[in-house]
Each structure stands twice: as structure tokens, then as C-alpha cells.
Amino acid sequence: MTLVEKILLSLHTIAGAVWIGSVFMGAFIDTPAAEESVEKGKFPFKFIIGQGRRVFYSVYFGIFQLWATGILLLIVHPPLNSIEIRMMIGKFFFLFIMTAFTLYGTFITWPKIQLATDKEAYTLHKYYNYRAYGTFVSGILGLLLTLWFYLYKI
């Protein structure tokens, strides 16, 4: 593995860790804790929206850096055989799922939640969380494929 590949792979992994970590923290720790902190039936608007505003930057840093370094890695070291090609297709599939769910959240779900009633917000956030679980699982699988892809190369 060349020095350029090592640097790109490091940046790629950092971006994945930041994004996956942000989603994990939001979906599995912050959300249940926030819901426990308010009266039953009340949606924790301030906390959830506040968290969404802050996580925006880390998530979009992750998206941009993952796609940029992923494409550069593909250029400097394209897949060489059918196994690598399949792994690369899997990686892009998982990254596409993550990106699509995130963009849907930013442009559709978050604006609606900001203007929702308590009941509407709970429904919107429930489906948002399902997509967050999907993003998290896709991220983990994509990260594992990345590790296997490069360990396989080594």
C-alpha cells in the first residue's frame, strides 16, 4: 500500500467513524435519554432539534469526506478482481443508503419536526430513527468491507 493510499484510507476511516459515531450517539443514547427527560406525551423538541443542529456538521463532514476519499481511493487503487469488485459495489451500496437516508432527514424530516405538534413529532421521529438504524448498520457494514478490502489487498 502506497503512502497516498494510507493517507486516503486514514481520512476515509476517520470520516466513517465520525459519521457512524454521530448516528450511534443520536439514535441509541441521546434520543431515549431525551424522551425520558420530558413528561409523557411531550416531545423533547429543544434537545432533539438542538442535537440535530449540532450533528449536522459532523454528518455532512462525514458524507463529503467519505465520498471524496472513496472516489480517490478507487482511482489510485481500483479493484483488481471479481471479489474486490463485489466488495466495492457493496461499499458504494451502503454509502448510497447512508447518504440517501441522511439527505431525506435533512430536507424532509427535520423541517417537519421543527414545526410539528408533540404527537406528530413522535411519529416523524420514530421513522427518522428507523432510518438512523439503517444508516448505522450500513455504516458498520461499509466500514467492515473497507477493512476487509484493504486487509485482503495487504
Partner: protein, 94 residues
């Protein structure tokens, strides 16, 4: 009481709750009068904009002209006839 005419620039997520109206005509000269008009006319508007303490949700930003009402007198801000009222939501994501 004076009648105030305003033009509205709202995101589609909010416009849907007010029948996509682009203009409004309400009695009074304060921003609170405008909100009362929306709530009385379309229903459930205050519930979408205010928290349990009756304060505007912190991430919701209304502008009268180019000025955020938070930098004016909040809900008591004066709205001039012909003014444009804009709603900006916070960028959030993930």
C-alpha cells in the same frame, strides 16, 4: 384597530398549514397579532411554533423585513403595512 397587510415567505413545510397563502391581512400592528390571526384562521399554529411556556421555539426564526424578531421586541415587534414576514428553520440533519 388598524388592518395590516403583509406578504409571507415561508418554507413549504409551514405554508401547507396555512393553505399556501402568500399574503395575509390581520387586525393589529404587532407580530403577536399576526400569529393570533394565523392561529384563529388556520388552527394549531401556536402549538407548532411555541413551547410549553408560550415562548417561540428557540430554533424558529421569524423575520420582519430583514430583521429577526428576536433582535427587535420579539412577539411585541411592530409590523408595518406592506412588510414581508419570513420564516427560516434551522439546518439540522443526520
Amino acid at each position: 384597530m388598524n388592518i395590516t397587510n403583509v406578504t409571507l415567505k415561508f418554507p413549504s413545510q409551514f405554508s401547507g398549514y396555512i393553505n399556501n397563502e402568500k399574503t395575509a391581512q390581520f387586525e393589529g400592528e404587532k407580530f403577536s397579532d399576526f400569529i393570533n390571526y394565523l392561529d384563529d384562521t388556520f388552527g394549531y399554529i401556536k402549538e407548532r411554533l411555541f413551547d410549553e411556556n408560550g415562548e417561540l421555539r428557540p430554533y424558529i426564526n421569524f423575520y420582519i423585513g430583514k430583521k429577526n424578531i428576536k433582535t427587535l421586541q420579539g412577539l411585541q415587534s411592530e409590523v408595518s403595512n406592506g412588510e414581508k414576514i419570513t420564516l427560516l428553520l434551522s439546518r439540522a440533519g443526520g
